[in-house]
Point group: C2
Amino acid sequence: MNPEVAAEVATTQARGRRTRDELVAAAAAAYGDVGFDGASLREIAKRAGVTHAGLLYHFPNREALLAAVLERRDELDAERLNVQLPPALGPLDRLIELAAYNEGNPSIVELFVRLAAEATSDPHPARAYFRNHYRLAREFAASGFRQLRDEGRLRAGVDPDVAAVGFIALMDGLQVQWLTDRSAVDLKTALRHYVEQMLEKP
Amino acid sequence: MNPEVAAEVATTQARGRRTRDELVAAAAAAYGDVGFDGASLREIAKRAGVTHAGLLYHFPNREALLAAVLERRDELDAERLNVQLPPALGPLDRLIELAAYNEGNPSIVELFVRLAAEATSDPHPARAYFRNHYRLAREFAASGFRQLRDEGRLRAGVDPDVAAVGFIALMDGLQVQWLTDRSAVDLKTALRHYVEQMLEKP
DNA sequence: CCTACCGATCGGTAGG
DNA sequence: CCTACCGATCGGTAGG
C-alpha cells in the first residue's frame, strides 16, 4: 500500500469512528428522552445525521447499540468518580459530588432512571448490566461506610452494608422524584442529611 | 319498562362492569410486565378475553385506560394503608408494612417502578398523577417524622421534611434494586434501619 | 454509507 | 361487543 492510499484509509476510518461516536451519543440522548423501548433506530439515526440503515452499518442490531451506550456511560462515570475529583475525597463524598454534577445534566439522569426501570423485566438486554452495576455501586458505598467506622465516626448500630444499600437506593429514588418535580427535591441536601445521621454526633 | 326487561338490563350492565374490571386488572399486569409504552391494547385485551376493539368499547382511548389503572391502584393502596392495619400504627410503620406486603407482589412493584420512570418525560399522560402522588407520599411520611419529634424521639438535627423526602426515595430506590436482584436487598430491614438512625438512641 | 423494500405490529375507526 | 379495515411506524435485510 502506497502512502497516499494509506492516508486515505486512515481518514476514512477516522470518519467512521466519529460517526460511531455520534451514534452512541445520539442513542444515549434518545434513551434518556423516551427510554430504550421508545427510541427507534430511525430517530437515533436522524439525530446523528444518517439513515437508520446507516446506523445498522455500524452496529449489527439494536442491542449492540445499547451495549455501546452503557459501555460509554461507565467510561464517563469512572472518569468523573476517580479522576476529576480531589484525591482526598472519600467514596461517599465522591458519590454525592457525582449526584450534584448530574443535577446539571437531567438527560443523563433520565437515561439511567428509564433504562434501570425497563431492565427490571426478565429478558431485557440490559438486565445483567444493571445487576452488576448495582453490585459495584453498593460495594463502593460500603467501603465508604467501613472507612468511617474504622475512623470511629460511624454511629453505633449502623451496619455498613445496610447503610450502603440505602445510600444507593436513596440516590436512585431521589432522582426519580427530582425528575418528576425539580423544585421538590435537593439531591445534595438529602444525601448529606442521610450520611450525617449515620455518624456519631461529634 | 317491565320487570323482565329491567332484570335483563341489570345483568347486562353487571357483565359490562365485570369486563371493565378485568380490563383494568389486565392492563395493570401488562404495564407491570412491560411498561405502559410496551403494553399494546391487543395484548391487554387478549389477557381479558376480548379483542382490542372490544377494549375500546369500554375505554375511549389508551390514556383513559391508564387513568383507570392509576385510580384503581390508589383505591387499593388507601385500603391497605388505612383499613387493613392496626389503628395504633404510625404513618412510617404503615409505609413499611405496605413495602413488606408488596414484597409478595412483584408485579405491583414493577407496575409502579416502570410507570414512574416513563412518566418523568415531559408530555407523559401519567406525569401529573405522579407529581401529586409523590407530594402526598412525602407529606404522609413527614407527618410520621413530626409525630416522632413531638414525642421527643427524633434525633437532634433531623429535619422531618428532609427525612420524609429521603424515606420515600428510599422506598422507590430499594424497589428498583430489589427487582433487579431479589437476593441483594431486604426492603423491611433497610427501611427500619433508616428510621432507627433518625431516632435518638433510647 | 444509501435506496428500497420486507413482514409485523401499532392505536384507532366504521359499521354492524 | 366483533370483523375488517386504515395509515403510520417498527427492526432488519438486499443490493449496491
